[in-house]
């Protein structure tokens, strides 16, 4: 290497020692696996996803077939978790119910995301009057306890599982709007936004190319946590008789039905309750793990 002219040559040499680029997903997974808690969360969530899809194939009984001779039977070799008040296999019904919980989680979070993210981006990026109007609307929604607001929506729309999903989704909009707004406020002050403006990018390009990708990490975390909240909320609505129709094996529904027999046949309430708890716990652990794994400040 000649000394004259190429003053910056040595820096190039240094670069060769750095590792080849790793993709973001692989890096996040690696970091996730370092914590036993989030690994457990990941396993629970994956198992839950598998059950939701494969419930029909792994269930030992038909979830809807009543055996009136075996009503409220305690757990046994035949009925692993016992039977409900109509003699239907509780285990098969729980497996079937996972599908409803997953649907509730995904759809309500989807509604929250698809409305909340654009609102937050607009509010944070443009500021001024748009910000004022959007955020005051969100404040109004946040001022009510969310379950009360969900009940209100279901009361207007009529009780059904679909409406419960919509209600839970709508109630979560302000959470996303605020979250995205706050990240947007931080990101839009970064110099690369100014560089992009200097290059002639319009607002739309700046928001979608630069701002949105940089707000993703908190959104991912919030979404996993929100799935847990949605499942709980759907169960609560189901328990109040505002969710799925009575014969649907939705976990909240099952809780509500079993409530009558809480002394004589406690397994009818205990197992759906445990199922809800386990799945919510799984999503919470995963969400917490993701929060750490996605934080670049902890990057090693």
């Amino acid at each position: 290497m000649s000394m004259s002219g190429n003053t910056f040559e040595p820096i190039v040499e240094l670069m060769e020692e750095t590792a080849p680029p790793t993709s973001g997903v692989v890096m996040v997974l690696k970091r996730l696996m370092r914590s036993p808690g989030s690994m457990m969360g990941l396993i629970i969530v994956l198992a839950f996803l598998f059950i939701s899809v494969a419930a029909d194939y792994i269930a030992p009984h038909d979830y809807d077939a009543a055996n009136f001779e075996m009503r409220r039977a305690a757990p046994s070799a035949e009925y692993w978790l016992g039977t409900d008040e109509l003699g239907r296999d509780l285990f098969s019904r729980l497996l079937q119910g996972a599908r409803y919980s997953l649907l509730v989680g995904v759809i309500s979070v989807g509604i929250g995301l698809s409305v909340g993210i654009p609102l937050g981006l607009i509010s944070g990026y443009f500021g001024g009057v748009a910000d004022m109007v959007i955020m005051r609307l969100m404040d109004i929604m946040l001022a009510f306890p969310s379950i009360l607001l969900a009940i209100l929506f279901v009361a207007i729309l009529g009780p059904s599982l679909e409406n419960a999903m919509i209600a839970i989704g709508v109630v979560s909009i302000p959470i996303y709007a605020r979250l995205v707004r706050s990240s947007t406020l931080t990101v839009k002050e970064e110099l690369f936004i100014e560089a992009s403006r200097a290059m002639g990018a319009n607002h739309f390009q700046i928001i979608f190319v630069h701002i949105f990708p940089n707000t993703l990490a908190p959104i991912v975390v919030q979404s996993t946590l929100q799935i847990a909240v949605a499942i709980q909320a759907a169960a609560a609505l189901g328990f109040l008789g505002l969710g799925a129709p009575p014969d649907v094996p939705e976990w909240g529904n099952m809780l509500q039905k079993g409530r009558t027999y809480i002394i004589s046949a406690p397994h009818i309430v205990v197992f759906p309750g445990l199922a809800i708890m386990l799945v919510v716990l799984g999503f919470n652990l995963l969400g917490d793990g993701l929060r750490d794994a996605l934080d670049p400040r902890i990057a090693r």
Binding site: L191, A198, P213
Partner: protein, 352 residues
């Protein structure tokens, strides 16, 4: 006047006339405007094609604001900026977008200036995607060429900014600014955040690129020694005002304004035996929200007299293309504004 001669016959590329930028200060429940920060107050200068115009001053003196206003990134309060014969504040947004092809900026902070979620190649080619419809292959070739020019390698295009050091990131920022082959680049303290050894490297790249692409630079800095080696003409700013403007050699040989003299005396000399007299300014820069009456520098000027606090000195030529704003120059005595430490009250000057 060698450097001056090199460009003095070239046409003027950028002309700034009476530029003002006031930022409103809001307070109270209804966010009423309670005052104005006069970040840039009536500044005029011009930059010739192929020239490097240096802008120096303490932090908060408005030099960065001038850079941002020149690019129309923040709207000016008053005045005009003429680029290549066109007043940029009067352009429609589509004309402005076209003009952005020709004007680019390099930032001080190499960490915040690159999107952490975009690869280096994507960052550099962003302008190409906005202004042209070049194919992926063409974009790739341009990016590879630019990376080579700034001393990186084409394969670095697929990496992310966090894999690079500050100096390397700054060079990526330079490559990005160059992607559209601009005529004029605002360098906003491009080396202030870098180690001294890396500074020289980045400056060398900037100079080489200037030669290759016939670039015109507005070079903003707070370090006079960097400016001395890099700029053809230099403007010195204090609290939103231009206090002195001259050819580089002229400015360093014969600084007229006491503020410039104080800045010069702060340049370190790499010779421990060299004794010299340093002028250390007392106090802090006054708030631009409430700048002093008269000459803005009079509160800290060791040579201030009554008139300085009453009336603002005119910014006019005292010699060949050498402008300054100081009442001492108006009194007519040659060398009146020279700081002679021996004559000064002891508390204003320390001799090192």
């Amino acid at each position: 006047m060698k450097t001056h001669g090199r460009v003095s016959n070239k046409r003027v590329l950028v002309e700034v006339n009476n530029l003002k930028k006031y930022f409103p200060v809001r307070s109270g429940l209804f966010q009423r405007i309670s005052g104005w920060v006069k970040a840039v107050d009536n500044v005029s200068f011009h930059i010739r094609e192929g020239e490097t115009f240096g802008l120096v001053g303490e932090s908060g003196c408005g030099k960065t604001t001038i850079g941002r206003t020149l690019l129309n990134l923040i709207p000016a309060t008053e005045g005009e900026v003429i680029f290549d014969g066109r007043s940029i504040f009067q352009l429609s947004s589509s004309e402005m977008k076209k003009l952005r092809h020709d004007i680019q900026i390099i930032f001080q902070d190499p960490y915040s200036s690159l999107n952490p979620r975009m690869t280096v190649g994507q960052s550099i080619s962003e302008g190409l995607r906005i202004h042209t419809n070049k194919s992926r292959q063409e974009q790739h070739e341009i990016v590879s060429d630019l990376l080579r020019r700034v001393g990186l390698r084409p394969e670095h295009a697929t990496r992310y900014p966090h894999e690079f050091s500050g100096g390397q990131r700054q060079r990526i920022g330079i490559a990005r600014a160059l992607a559209l082959r601009p005529k004029f680049i605002v360098c906003d303290e491009p080396v202030s955040a870098l180690d001294v050894s890396i500074q020289a490297q980045v400056l060398a790249i900037l100079r080489e690129l200037q030669k290759d692409f016939n670039l015109t630079y507005l070079f903003i800095a707070h370090n006079l020694s960097v400016v001395e080696h890099f700029c053809d003409r230099i403007g010195v700013m204090y609290l939103g005002k231009m206090v002195e403007l001259a050819d580089r050699e002229e400015l360093f040989r014969n600084p007229l304004h006491p503020y410039t003299q104080a800045l010069m005396s702060a340049i370190p000399i790499p010779d421990p035996r060299m004794k010299r007299q340093r002028v250390i300014l007392q106090g802090d820069v006054p708030s631009p929200l409430n700048p002093p009456q008269g000459c803005r520098f009079h509160t800290r000027c060791p040579l201030a007299f009554a008139k300085c606090g009453e009336e603002e000195p005119p910014f006019k030529a005292y010699g060949d293309e050498h402008y300054a704003a100081c009442w001492l120059l108006e009194t007519g005595e040659p060398g009146a504004s020279k700081l002679r430490p021996a004559e000064l009250p002891a508390e204003n000057v320390s001799v090192l």
